[in-house]
Amino acid sequence: MTPRLGLATRDAYGQALLELGREDPRVVVLDADLSVSTKTNLFAKEFPDRFLNVGIAEANLVGLAGGLAHSGKIPFISSFACFMICKGYDQLRMAVAVPRANVKVVASHGGISVGEDGASQQSVEDIALAASLPGFTVIVPADEHATRALVKAAARMNGPVYLRTGRPKAPLVYEADSSFAIGKGVLLREGKDVTLAANGLLVGAALAAAEALAADGISAAVVDLHTVKPLDEELIERQAKATGAIVTAEEHQVWGGLGAAVSQAVARRHPVPMEFVAIQDTYAESGKPEELMEKYGLTASGIVQAARRVLKRKRDPSLRSG
């Protein structure tokens, strides 16, 4: 089954910013010379007085946002995920996280689906780093509809948010009128044998994986955990109890990402066997996005294989993973 592609989540962010700009004069947008790529250029065009390209200076970008938030603005700041989080990290800590400043960090080009640009522009650590900042909310939307809704929800809440968008077109998972709440996962497909818990581009892949598993008589549930932090632990507990096995899938390094967060919740609430579809402690390389996703196992078939492994362990708890 080929999923229907929607807009890239970065494009949906650009559109959501426009709507926010019209609704709330406190919304200001700053970018570090990537506005054409992060899509903040749409906002810049309509609201030139509330947009600033600060140049290639991410540390200053984040510090400025801290000062703007302190003065009652709602700054949205954007760059590539790798630069925003790595070059601005101490500033995210001191100017945003410690004072719990109302800054919205929306970073594009998350993960390895950046493609040909290679490892320096790809981001495999951003979720771990963002989630480890105390008080930060961390969101990875799956498609354009989820992005629009969650960007707006981020603007409405008070406090720091990290939201990751992606470069390529994302498979459509939702309808235009689907509703979302930060911190609430979405049960997209019921199932009784195994739960596939994913976010970002991997949600589409998880739905495709569930179809493939169904053809083999395996009933897989699919949940979208778009909010990594705070995590919807109730939903995870329900799914652990209902299916007895969980596979997480994310476009991120296996250390410190969605899988790590879900495994903490599972260990605490209802231990069941788990498998983790993620980048296995390495940086990726140049290539077409779909080639890279294939090579690093971030595909429907990668999720299917992980589901089969976890089901074996569910049937025979003496088996080890790998």
């Binding site: 600060v54 200076a57 000062g67 003065s71 500033q91 001191m94 410690v98």
Partner: protein, 315 residues
Amino acid sequence: MAARNRRELTGLKKIGIIKLIMPFVPLTLPELPRMALAIRKEVIRMLGRSGSGHPGGSLSEADLLTCLFFHLMRHDPANPSWEERDRFVLSKGHGCPGVYAAMALAGYFPKEELLTLRRLGSRLQGHPDTRFLPMLEACTGSLGQGLSISCGIALAAKMDRKDHRVYCLMSDGETQEGQTWEAAAFAGFHGLDRLIALVDYNKFQLDGKVADIMDLEPLAKKWESFRWHAQEIDGHDILKIVQAVRQAQAAPGKPHVILAHTVKGKGVSFMEHNNYFHGVTPTAEETEAALKELDGDPSLSKALVAAGKIKMGGK
């Protein structure tokens, strides 16, 4: 001594209309040196009690703080979140004992609270933390960040057509941070002329002399080339400080930097130019000697030096 008391004495607090025009009664020029001395004494008392903290930079900045908090800034200790207040950001976060002392003496909180510095549960954190003391405006202590935050505050004011100013007190050492120059370039390009940065140029950083570790000179030229209006002054000359800030307030178009040449440890003879006291607090004996010296009697200080009891650093 505290300006707040002066206002209460004159009964201005009760007269709403006067409060509107002049919420905080500044000290006159001749009164400022005595306040600087009071700040230095509180710094020594606090650090003598806390047992950890940074005396050298807190003493070198004391005259700058005095002029800002008691003569130049528009603020109201009775109403710290006043919208129209000038903002003060301490980018050199380790100098917070000086700021806490200035704030207490201005009436932001009781003077007795100064002795809780760095203790569990105290609002007076080891480095400025707005979760505990919102009037600090910014969380600092990781050097090089305060100027960016100050730029953000100044930018918001510009967007909202507000006329308050942002004062950012920096150290010379943190001018080595790359972020300082990102912020400097930004403020210069955008002409943030209500931003006034002051550099407490005390010539030392933790490991030694700035000039030996990574010299900043020609520092004024650097700022000027980043499109700033730069002035160099004696950072212990009250009149010069006031004149320089007044000049900065009056000159539109560019952000302003005042390179204030200071002496680390200023006011206590055995701490002056002695980088041992960058991040080491005085012993009980040294505290007593320092306080006595600030009160005009250097005999104990001299005796400690003569007895070889003072440790030296950074020479």
